[in-house]
Point group: C3
Chain length 282, copies 3
């Protein structure tokens, strides 16, 4: 059904990328028939959001925006994980300059995706905790495969979901459900997510998820695109205005939280646990 | 059950009406027993909101307000349409002065109905797209007949539901449902509207709809009317404050959107389509 | 299961209490095993919130906060009533100075409970109208026994639920449900409250309600407490900011409403009715 055409990504050495990299951590394919662009994250094994992946996602969103696609679908090349959120290595004994850049780019990715005027949908083909949930909830529609988990579980690691991320979360969930989920670090199963409205549909495979996202984007075919864009941006304007007003302070808050000794200790213990798990498997 | 008394409308040549008209595009009946006023729109065939109808609705609301009725029910004299929204002829190759007056009066109708302190309910005895949905959602309660459609489908014509109208829509629907409905120009069927909470009850006829609206207004019989009024106005104050702050800019936004050549072209094509349909029927 | 340790309350003659009293209108017990503090209101027969009870509740909340408990559960010593709300005698032919203090302390109780960073839950072991509902909705979780009533029915007496109280109510209920409930003085049955989300669980006894509240608080055991606290406070900050901005004006509004002759008349009639009921029972 899909005859994807691979669009060359923006030049990796271009002037807009302040960290040049040879890696292609995302791909963008445009379906010639539907005009819908699919952005795929490909940083194995779990699309951990390090600085480079975040920069790549941002570039790809901007590229799709400039290409005037009919819609944007975000998905993952990994079989079981949509996106595991911030790469925890970026937060462990961090270089302060780089940590600042990481959070700034996470902000940039969110506001690029949340504030894009074209229709957006997430084909959530695996787990989507924290930064993975951020990407999914910035979209207008969410389709998820069975037996996975999604949620903003930042408090588990000792950090918090920032106000701008919560504001988008509240576009989707009732306040009562959202506050409890945020404080409990709740990861919703696919079924729970559907029931609470955090996702819109379940699909049995990534392909089906992408198709359902495309069908959602297709519902706008008879709508005036300018009026659609203005309606979406008007709806999201207040959250974006608030975000821009507070984004600098938000970077400081994040840095001060991550640098707390007990948070560093928690992250260290978490990494230690991961290593042991890996060792046991080998 | 109802013994209606026809209340004379405000004088058509009165100083508050800047466009005098001999037409009676609305009627107001007050039930002597219940004290509830029913405002009926009667501009066949579909209660298209031209300037005169909007002025008439506003006058009738103000009249009911001044008459200290026990409640207000809004309905339509047309058998299949509650109100089709703005008369599209007002937007086609418009006289700018008149177009400005039309939008200003739509604003006035909304804030008069949304901000009235007495109990309000809509007996939606037919379709209620766009400006029809505006009237219904400005009320506190909605009863609708089967097999009709309701929604804010402005984007279909290339215009957008303004912020103040969206703010009232969000008093009724969850954000997720509202954003999607607005961008998709979604018209909810009666059953869908009930399921999503956009309407509160279904009635099998206009008479039954009016009765159910009256029953809703009756639920306030044991409540202190001053405290009820203060509670309602406090609840709606922030939306009204925002509306008054932005209403002038909103008129400019509407005018600039309607005057776009592609919007004019779309409206022209729509009218052409209506003409052909009519011709085919004859 | 629980081995309660009675914590001495703050000294009744301490410098922070501007009205010294020998009564103990609340008790605080801390479960040694779970670290959860249970605040019990004990002003028979219905925990009517007079000035002394409000001061006591406030002190107990502050005490629990300073004691760094793991969580707070609020409940009642009365068998059939959680809390009946403001003691109506405080509003009848009131001493203005004292009435001002009563409302100020109701505000203080709300913002102490709403803004405390630790997990909070209400074991609603009986009816919870008005000020009782205020306490319950300031918590993060609500468990209620069958066949009781809960709601903000202020308009029945001619007063209104203030903006800050409504803001917390809206953390729990959809706007449509909340506005209607507030204007109708709706008291939800236990079953209705569960269905609308106003409570989270039903329990067959006070003991079971307290246990379920403790289980809810237990869900935070694996969450970083600092991050949890920041997340909760960030979520509630805007409502609290607004409250502090308007709290003085809110006291004036309340006083002016209560002092209206028709409100005084209504309160008088209500008290008269209570007396007659009592006389008939004897």
């Amino acid at each position: 059904m899909f005859s994807p055409r691979v669009v060359s990504l923006v030049p990796r050495t271009g002037p807009r990328r302040f960290m040049s990299t040879a890696s292609k951590l995302t791909t963008v394919e445009v379906n010639d028939k539907t005009g819908i662009a699919t952005l795929t994250m490909c940083r194995p094994p779990v699309n951990g959001q390090n600085l480079e992946l975040l920069l790549d996602i941002k570039s790809s969103i901007k590229e799709i925006e400039n290409d005037s696609s009919r819609g944007l679908i975000i998905t993952s090349a990994s079989p079981k994980v949509f996106c595991a959120g911030l790469d925890i290595l970026e937060m462990h004994k961090p270089d302060q300059q780089r940590l600042r850049a990481v959070w700034t780019e996470l902000q940039n990715v969110w506001c690029a995706l949340y504030g894009i005027s074209m229709p957006t949908a997430a084909a959530i083909n695996g787990h989507a905790p924290a930064g993975g949930c951020l990407l999914a909830t910035a979209c207008e529609y969410r389709v998820m495969v069975p037996d996975c988990r999604i949620g903003l579980n930042e408090t588990q690691l000792g950090i918090i979901a920032p106000k701008w991320l919560v504001s988008g979360f509240l576009n989707i969930l009732p306040k009562r459900v959202a506050e409890r989920a945020l404080t409990q670090s709740r990861l919703f199963t696919t079924d729970e997510a559907l029931q609470e409205g955090l996702i819109d549909e379940i699909a049995n495979s990534k392909e089906e998820a992408v198709e359902k996202c495309a069908a959602f984007i297709g519902t706008f075919s008879k709508v005036n695109p300018v009026a659609r864009a203005l309606t979406k941006l008007q709806f999201r304007a207040e959250n974006l205005r608030q975000f821009h007003k507070e984004r600098e302070q938000d970077v400081e808050n994040f840095l001060s939280l991550v640098n707390r000794p007990e948070v560093q200790k928690g992250i260290g213990a978490y990494l230690e646990g991961l290593k042991k798990k890996k060792a046991n498997k080998q």
